[in-house]
Symmetry: C2
DNA sequence: AGTAGTATGTGTGTAATGGACACTAACTTG
DNA sequence: CAAGTTAGTGTCCATTACACACATACTACT
């Protein structure tokens, strides 16, 4: 292998450089009940042994970063098939890891809540229930408003993920990723309320959503409980599209 | 050194992993004349010898990523004191570099244009004129709408930088970083027009900017050419603040 | 001194958007 | 059939976004 390496135009001998380790960490987010939750694993080894941390691990030499994020999420928590995964930010402070230099490419993932119709109907099942993976002592969903102190700089990563999600909610249709394929407008509204942490007006919300042209009516209703049944909708595209076009 | 490394909770022996190299690449942007320009260096070595590339290079073991970005920009192009520097995205496709696995943390930097009052007044001088650095054969500003094919995936990095800049222009005051300390409203408008690549209405633009409350009037005018002199302004804060508060 | 040239600077009217706000409809359960 | 519960709907008002045209203040030339 040629060891003449540079990102720019010069010449270096690779052996002259110690290389940092490169990891991915994933903030997997879901909405259950009326709070957002984050998936954490409990560390079994030093450093931060016993502390909770985001699932994550080292990137393999021939592996794409996105692939590594999916893989680590699955390996450490048993959660597969995140409906949305986006790179968030790369955290690289020299001492963020007490062992050695570790540069972490952080991702956030969105998963439909546990009450999802997908799950109830038992088809196209997505694995959302965590189970401790090969590397993790324990895996659990934690409500974001009462997180324990996390290992490394993971509290900062979570904060970044939440603020990014809040921002994207405003100008894209990412919300699809937190909902089952079919849902009622009330369920959609709750997702918005949970993320934004504020109540929204029902009439204005419905007006805006329907006007955005990202929803299709499905010819079916959801009847549940002693009240009027609700119309079901689905997103026209199961991907994050920009609104306002 | 302890070699028990994991981003999550498990146990690995570092020696079992080949580590990728980690680089930073910087898309330095400025507005000169009526076009945006990007600072490129010409590569002197394989691969992509002779091709133009973004300035960049490897991150040192005990160096912050932001620091590395500043350093590489300066070392390779002689351009110091970027008024804004922000991490953009991390590019990590396994074969983006033909030599070995290189993960690149991309940044974009903004610099005031060459007509800056700072430069004309000769104080607080910022080095904006490129000169080939130790590692670069040649360094030059290129208009973004007629870039040559770049080395590696650098065309994609530039595209990402431009779209991020366009987006941020809409909800922050980043424009400050492309202007000298004092400027006229017309100069400010041109910066917007150049970035958005469309003409704006003068009256609406001025109304909006003044209403945003991010500008201070300076008790001085700019007289230049055979026409009415223009009021000078400065940004209340020389940092990117969110509008609409 | 006056005139031509050039970029600065200013206000109004109209359309679109965002937000507040209260009642009827349709179902289930007892 | 009555009580309980959630679904579903429309108007008014305030703010914002956008289109649009002319007087002002200087320089340079004759």
């Amino acid at each position: 292998m040629d060891t003449n390496l540079t990102g720019g135009a010069g010449t270096y001998d690779v052996s002259a450089f110690d290389r940092p380790s490169v990891a991915v960490d994933v903030a997997a987010i879901t909405a259950r009940g009326d709070r957002l939750h984050i998936l954490l694993v409990r560390r079994g080894v030093w450093p931060f042994e016993g502390r909770w941390a985001l699932p994550g691990g080292f990137v393999k030499m021939d592996e794409d970063l996105d692939t590594a994020a999916h893989r680590e999420l699955c390996e450490e928590t048993g959660v597969a098939g995140a409906s949305y995964l986006e790179q968030l930010y790369t955290f690289g402070a020299p001492n963020r890891d007490p062992r050695t230099r570790v540069i972490s490419v952080a991702y956030y993932a969105l998963l439909p809540g546990p009450d999802s119709a997908l799950r109830r109907e038992g088809r196209a099942m997505v694995a959302c229930e965590p189970e401790a993976g090969t590397d993790a002592a324990e895996a659990r969903w934690w409500p974001v408003d009462s997180l324990p102190p996390l290992a490394f700089d993971h509290n900062a990563i979570v904060a970044t993920a939440l603020s990014r999600l809040r921002a994207k909610l405003g100008y894209t249709s990412v919300a699809y990723a937190l909902l089952p394929e079919e849902f009622t407008l009330t369920e959609l509204q709750r997702v918005y309320e949970v993320i934004l942490a504020q109540e929204l007006d029902k009439r204005n919300f419905r007006k805006k959503m329907l006007a955005a042209g990202i929803l299709d009516t499905v010819p079916r209703q959801k009847r549940e409980g002693a009240h009027r049944p609700a119309q079901l909708y689905r997103f026209t595209k199961r991907e994050a599209v920009f609104l306002d076009d």
